[in-house]
Symmetry: C2
Subunit: 177 residues, 2 copies
DNA sequence: TGTATACATGTTATATTATAACATTTCAAG
DNA sequence: CTTGAAATGTTATAATATAACATGTATACA
C-alpha cells in the first residue's frame, strides 16, 4: 500500500499520464485528516474545502482562483481567507507553493516530510512532483561546503512534459483548465 | 585567472566571508560588456547602471528598490524601466531572479550558462550562489525518468549562513543593508 | 547624408499577488 | 457555563508585475 495520495499521480512514470483522478482526492483527504489529527490540528471546513479544490484541480492554482471558488461556496470572499488556508496546508505538508507560478498545488506525498521537486510543463502547465532526495542531497552538500544549514529548499524545473515535447511554445504562464 | 566576476564572492569557502567587494563590480562589468558584445547586444546606460546597482548591492534587491535608485539618477521612474533592464540582464545570464524573495541579484558566474543554486540566509539575508551542477544533474535524471525535458531550473535554499548559525530567528523577508 | 527600421526608453494605467489590522465567531478546557 | 485560544471574517492597503502606447535613438543601407 502506497503512502502517496494517489498512486497514479505519484508514480514517476505515470505522473504525466492521463488517469481517473477522482479516487486520488478522497484517499488524500483521508490521509490529511490523519496527519493533522496526529498533530492536534483541525481540518476545518475552509481548510478542507481548500484542500479539496487543490486536489480536484490536480494542477497549480493561484490563491485568487482558490478564493473565488471558496467565495461561491459561501466562505469568505476576501484574500486572507484563501491565503490563511493555503498557508496552513503548506505549513503542515499537505500542499506546496509553486514559486515559479505564484500558485499552490496539493502535495502528492503527504506526511513524508520531504523536499519537493516540481516539473512544470511550460506548454500545458501540468505539474509533477518528482523524487527530490538526490537533488536535495546534492544541495545539502553544496551548502555544507559553505557552512550553510538548509532549512527549506525550493526546487522547480520549467520545461516540456512528454506530451508537449514537440508542441510550439505557448503563453509562458497561467495554468491550463 | 578565474572566470568568475569576483573570486571572493564566487569561491565556495569565501562566499559568506567579508571582503572588499569594490574590484568585483568593475571586473564583472567588463565581463558583461564582453558577453553582450559577443551576442550583438548593447549594454545601454539603464542596463549598465542596473547591473552596477546589483553588483554594488551584493545581495538580492527588489525591482522597486532598483527602480528608486535609477529614478534618483535621472532614469525613468516607472516600474517597466526597472523590470525591462532586470529581465534583459537575466535573459543574458548577467543576473538571476531569486523567487523566494521576489528579488534580483547579479550573477556570480557570468557567461557560464549555468543553472544557479542559491543559499539564502533567513537571518541576515546574505545570498551565495552555490555550485549547482550536481543538483541540476539529479534533477535532470528525475525529469528524464518521466520523459520531461528541463528548459530552466530554479534551485533555492533558505537557511542559516555560517555567521548566523546561532542567531535567533528574525523577520522572514526583506533584504539586509 | 538622409531616412527607414528596429530597438530602446519613457509614460499612464491597471493587473496580480499578498499582508496588516481589527471585529466577530467558534471551539474546547476547565 | 464561561473563559481563553484559535479560526474566520472584514476593510483597507502594500508589494509586485505587466499591458498598451508615445517618444526617442541607433544602425543599416540607399
Amino acid at each position: 500500500m502506497s503512502h502517496d495520495h494517489c498512486r497514479n499521480c505519484a508514480a514517476p512514470d505515470l505522473a504525466f499520464a492521463a488517469h481517473d483522478h477522482a479516487p486520488c482526492a478522497s484517499e488524500a483527504l483521508a490521509r490529511a485528516i490523519g496527519i493533522l489529527a496526529a498533530k492536534g490540528q483541525r481540518l476545518t471546513p475552509v481548510r478542507r474545502r481548500t484542500l479539496e479544490i487543490l486536489l480536484e484541480g490536480h494542477r497549480a492554482l493561484g490563491a485568487y482562483e482558490v478564493l473565488s471558488r471558496l467565495a461561491t461556496e459561501g466562505f469568505g470572499a476576501q484574500p486572507p481567507v484563501a491565503y490563511r488556508a493555503l498557508d496552513f496546508l503548506e505549513e503542515h505538508g499537505l500542499a506546496h507553493r509553486i514559486r515559479r507560478l505564484n500558485a499552490f498545488t496539493a502535495c502528492m506525498h503527504m506526511g513524508e516530510n520531504h523536499t519537493a521537486a516540481f516539473l512544470i510543463c511550460c506548454v500545458c502547465h501540468a505539474i509533477s512532483e518528482a523524487p527530490a532526495p538526490p537533488a536535495r542531497a546534492a544541495l545539502d552538500s553544496a551548502a555544507s561546503a559553505q557552512g550553510f544549514t538548509i532549512e527549506s529548499a525550493t526546487i522547480e524545473a520549467l520545461g516540456r512534459c512528454p506530451t508537449c515535447q514537440n508542441a510550439p511554445q505557448l503563453v509562458p504562464n497561467k495554468a491550463a483548465a
